[in-house]
């Protein structure tokens, strides 16, 4: 799995002692997503035009990846990055290797097509269990807070439940990890404040955005990433024998209809700007606003200028 370069890194970490004393293993799940800034909808058919849309690693996952790499910096060990997707999702794994991950696993099989969040968390948790058997049991599984294409934030909790990991979502900060007592303390974003939690390894962490900044991989890592093998597993390779729990068949939710929203009966009343000064247009706009909503004048007046 590791090519020569990554092996050198690993040996170095073993020599510094961290890997021997505390061989921490972190698995991070990432997803390759279309760059949403560049998605276009076909004006006539209202379908997504996927062709030519560049893909990126789900931006939320990068906070999880960086956190995993930071923990490896401190505690030693290995970071395995996992994704489920079509063969081309290998690109995102190579990027992750370029940032410094030690190993990449691509879970790819046509049986996974059409997975909803329940089927996805099933496949990923099976693969994580297999990674555990093959490369060592993970102490922490990371995911991003959510993806930018699905936005559900459900797969992380699903994995935690299936693998019986302590579930720590929306983590803003990992305050401490004690590998001897297996205790972990985190700050977690909650409604109206920050929760300070103490829990135990193994755990699943979904990392909050803006909590760190992804490092620039070294040139050596970039070279390694280009050369290293990505482990490719089919459903069978990952030890999944019940294919009815995968893909469309394993998904309780069914998408019945995809559609573009209808425009309101009337589109916006346009304020004519031709041959008028900006101040006049502004006055006209305000007059129009207050004609439509007279009560606003009081509200704006008494809240303004403070």
């Amino acid at each position: 799995m590791n090519d020569a370069g990554n092996e050198v890194n690993r040996q170095a970490r073993i020599r510094t002692g961290s890997l021997e004393k505390s061989p921490m293993h972190i698995v991070i799940c990432i997803k390759q997503v279309p760059d949403s800034a560049q998605i276009r909808v076909h004006p006539v058919t209202n379908t997504i035009m996927r062709q030519g849309v560049p893909t990126i690693i789900n931006p939320y996952d990068l906070f999880a990846l960086e956190e995993a790499l930071k923990l490896r910096d401190v505690h030693g060990g290995e970071v395995t990055v996992l994704t489920m997707g079509p063969p081309m999702a290998e690109d995102s794994l190579r990027k992750a290797l370029g940032y410094g991950a030690d190993r990449a696993v691509l879970l790819t099989d046509r049986y996974f097509a059409g997975s909803d969040t329940l089927a996805t968390s099933f496949a990923l948790s099976q693969a994580i269990a297999k990674i555990g058997e093959t490369f060592g049991r993970p102490d922490i599984v990371f995911t991003g807070k959510q993806t930018i294409d699905g936005d559900t934030a459900q797969v992380g909790p699903g994995i935690a439940k299936r693998l019986n990991l302590s579930q720590l979502t929306y983590v803003a900060k990992i305050a401490s990890i004690d590998l001897k007592t297996r205790e972990i303390e985190v700050a977690r974003r909650a409604e109206g404040g920050t929760q300070l939690l103490k829990s135990r390894l193994p755990c699943l962490i979904t990392m909050l955005e803006d909590t760190n900044e992804i490092r620039r991989g070294s040139l050596q890592q970039a070279l390694c990433a280009a050369r290293s093998q990505v482990v490719k597993w089919t459903a069978a390779d990952a030890g999944i024998d019940d294919l009815t729990r995968c893909g469309l068949r394993g998904s309780p939710t069914v998408v019945k209809r995809v559609f573009a929203p209808t425009a309101r009966a009337e589109s916006a009343a346009q304020i004519d700007t031709a041959e008028k000064g900006l101040q006049d247009i502004a006055d006209e706009l305000i007059a129009d606003i207050l004609t439509r909503r007279p009560a606003l004048e009081h509200e704006l007046a008494f809240n303004s200028g403070t």
């Binding site: 329940l118 959510q146 439940k161 404040g193 929760q195 209809r257 995809v258």
Partner: protein, 369 residues
């Protein structure tokens, strides 16, 4: 019940036009449940919004609406129960136990899963807050049922199945999702997406109390502390009456000052569209849209925002939407009430000045008298 209606029993729910029958083990799943989220002693407003929505679904299905309250024994839970009835619940399920004092996934997921398995609701709604999302994801996994996140519209089909509509593909389209062969049908809805229903004082009705089948020693995760947010520093976008927001049309991060200036002049909160957060021009708590805050202000002014669906669903509840954009074909003009095709960078200072003139202390005095 008349004999006629007994002769034609209600259709097995959840078929969505599909001829296959619901598995036998789910046939007795009935009624609509809303999870009431307790937040530091108060019920999160999203729970009331969901009770309003749940009421409509329950009435259509001709079933009962139940509230679910999980918390520590005492006043906090009893108050929440009273509120559940005031906002339309027919009955309330309670699990009250000391380990439910602060939110943690383990005891809450256990309590809710056990309740569902005991009483078998057909629909279960939760708020898409950090708590609701954390809880819903693990409960749905344990129950092996479908969960549709961040719905913007909920309805019941002619055959009684839940039609949950949400934005998809990063918010560029909408899709309607069904959970056909599993129960309960679970969905989360973000705060402010549904209107707040009227509160009506009502006597406390039927209450079903259950024990938590866990004790503190069984729970791995412990709460060490809680740091409340500094409320004054936090954006209170979701509940603001007037909001001004900027988008990519502003061209540069420094031009956001123009949005802030206008907001200050009219006592508004300021926000932005998603790309600006992705560019790092504004913090995430100022983002308006599907993945940010949903707002329902009396007046919303969008400057240089094109109006992608993921933004649209976050602002559609506004009473009056004013859009400023250079592109006459920008989608925002399809759902704004008032539009101006012009460059927001040049127009915002003029608008700020005009508002300031109109709302000067002198005219304020006039209004007050």
């Amino acid at each position: 019940m008349s004999t006629a209606s007994q002769a034609t029993p209600r259709l097995a729910p959840g078929r969505a036009g599909v001829k296959k029958e619901l598995p036998d083990r789910f046939k007795d799943y009935r009624h609509v449940w809303v999870f009431l989220e307790l937040e530091r002693g108060n019920v999160h407003p999203v729970s009331f919004e969901l009770l309003g929505e749940g009421r409509k679904l329950a009435d259509k299905l001709e079933v009962q609406l139940a509230g679910v309250v999980l918390g520590p024994p005492g006043e906090m839970v009893e108050d929440a129960v009273a509120e559940a009835f005031a906002y339309g619940a027919d009955l309330v399920y309670i699990v009250d136990a000391p380990p439910l004092a602060d939110y943690r996934n383990e005891p809450f997921a256990k309590a809710l899963t056990d309740l569902v398995n005991t009483h078998k609701p057909e629909i279960l709604l939760l708020g898409a807050t950090t708590l609701g999302r954390d809880l819903a994801g693990s409960v749905a996994t344990t129950l092996q049922t479908g969960l549709t996140a961040d719905c913007t519209e909920l309805d019941v089909d002619s055959d009684g199945s839940l039609a949950a509509t949400r934005p998809t593909f990063g918010g560029s389209l909408l899709c309607t999702i069904y959970t056909l062969n599993y129960r309960p049908q679970m969905a989360t809805v973000r705060p402010r997406v549904m209107p707040m229903p009227q509160r009506v004082d009502k006597p406390v009705g039927r209450v079903m109390r259950h024990k938590l089948s866990l004790v503190e020693d069984d729970i791995v995760t412990k709460v060490l502390g809680f740091l409340p947010d500094n409320q004054s520093a936090m954006a209170n976008l979701a509940y603001a009456d007037v909001v001004v927001a900027g988008g990519l049309g502003l061209g540069a991060a420094e031009n956001l000052q123009l949005v802030k200036n206008l907001a200050r002049a009219i006592g508004a909160e300021h926000g932005c569209s998603r790309p600006l957060v992705q560019k790092g021009w504004m913090p995430a708590d100022r983002q308006i849209g599907q993945t940010g805050k949903t707002i329902r202000p009396k007046l919303y002014i969008a400057a240089g925002i094109s109006g992608a669906i993921q933004h649209r669903v976050g602002v559609e509840g506004a009473d009056l939407i004013v859009a400023i954009n250079t592109d006459p074909n920008a989608p925002i003009f399809e759902f704004a009430h008032l539009g101006i095709v012009t460059d927001a960078i040049r127009f915002l200072p003029a608008l700020t000045e005009a508002f300031t003139r109109r709302l000067s202390p002198h005219s304020r005095d006039k209004l007050a008298s």
